[in-house]
């Protein structure tokens, strides 16, 4: 007799899912809501794994407040400060950022943004009134989080965002000190899987000098950390099979 009897296992799983119907429905509904919190947490964990000291700053009320969407001022929301020796950075969510060519009025809101400390106004600072967006040269790196299957058009859209914000990552030019400081390449993280039509596109990035990360099935990458994993799913060294900089793509 085989160790797994398929019909029997299928019946047992169906029974389990029926018994926990409400919890599975909640799981499904909560996915996209938790996505950006997860992206923020992974970014913070990435720096922690590299030995940075990670501190939370919580400006308002008793709850940690995560900015979702474009509305609201950043100084009313929580953010992380990461400190390693003399290096200090901040991780914000849904922060408006100016484009790379200084287009008047152009602001792109990235889901998770890493910037040098002190570039985003805090409470009680007068200059916050005039603040509209992070200057482009203060954008270290960023994440875009999606709850979608990764199709070629989603990758193209992300490449477009990188092109507008930090085009050097599409020309094989990471900023000086970027790798030494342990930053991750701009990355698209998604709960969805990487569709087969994307495999060769992603595999080709390294050869084309495109330095971006594509992390599919983001919740599985997170689950790995939950089991005590010590490798950040966000990398610059091509070690992450989901990053798109490796010959082996994790299906």
């Amino acid at each position: 007799m085989p160790p797994v009897e398929v019909e029997q296992l299928s019946a047992a799983l169906r029974k389990f899912v029926r018994r926990h119907k409400t919890q599975f429905e909640a799981l499904s509904e909560r996915r996209s809501q938790l996505l950006e919190i997860g992206a923020l947490m992974i970014a913070a964990r990435h720096y922690e794994l590299l030995g940075y000291d990670v501190r939370l700053h919580n400006p308002k009320g008793s709850d940690i407040r995560v900015k979702l969407g474009t509305r609201g001022d950043p100084w009313n929301f929580s953010y992380f400060e990461v400190v390693g020796g003399s290096r200090r950075f901040e991780i914000h969510t849904n922060l408006p950022v100016r484009d790379a060519v200084g287009t008047k009025g152009a602001r792109y809101v990235a889901d998770v943004v890493v910037a040098p400390a002190g570039k985003v106004p805090k409470r009680f600072e007068k200059r916050r009134r005039e603040w509209r967006a992070l200057p482009n040269d203060s954008l270290v790196t960023f994440l875009e989080a999606k709850a979608l299957v990764i199709y070629p058009m989603l990758i193209a859209q992300f490449i477009g965002i990188v092109h507008e914000l930090r085009p050097e990552f599409l020309r094989d030019q990471r900023p000086k000190g970027f790798v030494e400081e342990g930053h991750f390449d701009p990355a698209l993280v998604s709960l969805g899987y990487l569709h087969g039509t994307c495999w060769n596109i992603v595999k080709g990035f390294e050869k084309r000098g495109i330095r971006i990360g594509i992390v599919a099935q983001f919740d599985s990458a997170i689950a790995n950390l939950n089991r005590g994993g010590t490798q950040s799913p966000l990398t610059t060294d091509g070690a992450n099979p989901n990053s798109g900089q490796n010959e082996d793509i994790e299906f």
């Binding site: 799983l13 909640a26 799981l27 809501q33 599985s220 089991r227």
Partner: protein, 144 residues
């Protein structure tokens, strides 16, 4: 390629969004199935296709529960460290005692117990379909 009936019957029980995502993933996975078998040095004679795909369904569901649990747990640990009551993001608000948190913890515990009953504990350590196949291959070898 159509999904095996035992797999379709199972995914049909899931909420629509989860079902759609999971079935799409399985169809994509089938395109590289032979490569995964080759890398795991396994044959369909050793681990039948329907068995592999059904256990991949279990792995994906468990990963989603585990992933959400990690996010909530980490968020709440940080909240607690800084004396914050909970987490607020848009309409979602959760704390250590909110329904979302306790329901998810309960689901995680039940899933763990269920995996153990089904002798599928290796799922908890699997990083992807390759590990799932490897786990099944080892289970077959141990049984023979």
């Amino acid at each position: 390629m159509a999904l095996p009936p035992a797999v379709e019957k199972t995914t049909a029980q899931l909420p629509a969004a989860l079902r759609q995502e999971l079935e799409g993933y399985l169809r994509t996975l089938q395109e590289v199935e032979s490569e995964i078998y080759r890398e795991a040095e396994t044959t369909h004679g050793e681990v039948p296709r329907d068995e592999f795909l059904l256990v991949v369904v279990i792995w994906r569901l468990y990963s989603q529960v585990e992933g959400q649990r990690w996010i909530m747990q980490n968020s709440l640990e940080i909240a607690s460290e800084f004396g914050a009551g909970g987490f607020r993001a848009g309409r979602l608000r959760f704390s250590g005692t909110s329904d979302d948190t306790t329901e998810l913890q309960e689901l995680h515990r039940s899933f763990d117990r269920w995996l153990h009953q089904q002798k599928l504990d290796f799922i908890r350590l699997a990083d992807g379909p390759r590990d799932v196949l490897e786990g099944l291959r080892q289970a077959h070898n141990a049984a023979s």
